[in-house]
């Protein structure tokens, strides 16, 4: 039993020490998942029968600065749709909860402010998960400038 525990400990420690360089210097394997160029302008994706457009300003989109997020919805939304919100995160890395609360800004448009933080690993692929309550969630995966 003790032997098994020792082997397990060595295995786990080795994994941590070996994984660290990978996490610190990760070449971004999520590059292929990018589905949006927010530096160029607004991005539109489809959720059920709704077009969800996300725009982030100022452009280009940089980490560690105050950003304005705007979500515009078009389609067959329920009449009493609650306010959408955005969860910012990094694919494959737990960065803690970072939610941008949106407020109504006219017809089917919602705005809020937030910050995309910088990861010392150097990874620059971020994800904005736009949730429309009772409808669903759509992910915008994009590159951020550090």
């Amino acid at each position: 039993m003790q032997h098994l525990f020792n082997m397990f400990s060595v295995g786990l420690l080795t994994a941590i020490l070996l994984a660290a360089p990978g996490r610190i210097s990760a070449g971004d394997k999520y590059q292929a998942k990018i589905n949006c160029d927010l530096h160029a302008g607004a991005c539109t994706q489809f959720l059920s029968e709704n077009a969800v457009t996300l725009e982030v300003t100022p452009r280009p989109v940089k980490a560690m600065q105050d950003l304005a997020f705007k979500v515009t919805l078009k389609g067959k939304l329920p009449p009493d749709t609650k306010l959408p919100y955005i969860d910012l995160g990094m694919p494959g890395m737990n960065m803690g909860p970072n939610r941008v609360q949106l407020k109504s800004a006219g017809s089917a448009a919602y705005e809020g402010r937030g910050v995309i933080v910088r990861c010392p690993s150097g990874r620059r692929i971020w994800q904005a998960a736009v949730t429309i309550p009772d409808v669903g969630q759509i992910d915008f995966i994009f590159d951020v400038i550090y």
Partner: protein
């Protein structure tokens, strides 16, 4: 709007989950280095002092960000200092690895040709030989400033709390408390990793010890490189 008690619980649980999901990979090598460096000594008090120092730094940052009501403003001001801390940490891990492997005789790290060189060598030597328990507290204070995504995210929340507080003083206190809760939440994961590296069986195997030392050197170099490029 969440109650203060709920916020504290949220920060504590976020620290806990981020600890296992993020800190083990990014900061695990640091606590492993300390554990191995302590060799036959009990790691409990040094590790707790390190985490206490780290948590106090988080709390101070939380207070400052809450008072400023802006995360990005504070972050911009401490960025270059954080870069320095990252390079320092990498150098420390690297040198501890060299010392563990026995490849760093007499702590002559920078050569003693000048008074400054002698002073730096002596200082690093003291750090590398940090078998004294108390040194881990200031190390924790300093390394709490390491650039870290989840810490930034937690600070974003404290900036909002600061803006919503009835007074600056209340905002500062809440911000400090929240970040302290976050820091405490990260301790179990990092302590578990440190404890794994503290097994007598492991430390008594010279070959494993040397392999660990080499891996530490690699991690240290990567920290330095990342710090320079940060």
């Amino acid at each position: 709007m969440l109650s203060t008690e709920t916020l504290f619980l949220l920060y504590l649980s976020t620290g806990f989950t981020v600890g296992f999901g993020h800190c083990i990979g990014m900061c695990g090598p640091i606590v492993v280095t300390f554990s191995l460096n302590l060799k036959e000594k009990n790691i409990l008090v040094p590790q707790l002092l390190y985490h206490l120092g780290r948590t106090i730094t988080y709390a101070i940052l939380g207070g400052v960000v809450a008072a400023a009501g802006s995360f990005s403003m504070v972050a911009a001001n401490i960025e270059s200092f954080q870069k320095g801390v990252m390079i320092f940490t990498g150098a420390l891990i690297m040198l501890m690895g060299l010392a563990m492997a026995g490849w760093l005789p007499h702590w002559n790290v920078f050569g003693d040709h000048s008074k400054a060189g002698a002073w730096i060598s002596k200082s690093f030597g003291k750090l590398l030989k940090a078998k004294s328990t108390l040194i881990y507290f200031p190390l924790g204070l300093l390394l709490g400033l390491l650039p870290c995504g989840p810490v930034y995210t937690a600070l974003l929340g404290t900036a909002r709390t600061g803006m919503d507080a009835a007074s600056i003083f209340q905002g500062v206190l809440t911000g400090m408390g929240l970040m302290a809760a976050f820091g405490i939440g990260t301790v179990p994961a990092l302590f578990l990793v440190a404890k794994l590296a503290d097994l007598d069986w492991l430390k008594s195997r010279a070959i494993i010890y040397k392999v660990g030392a080499v891996l530490m050197m690699i991690v240290g170099i990567l920290f330095v490189v990342k710090g320079i490029r940060y």
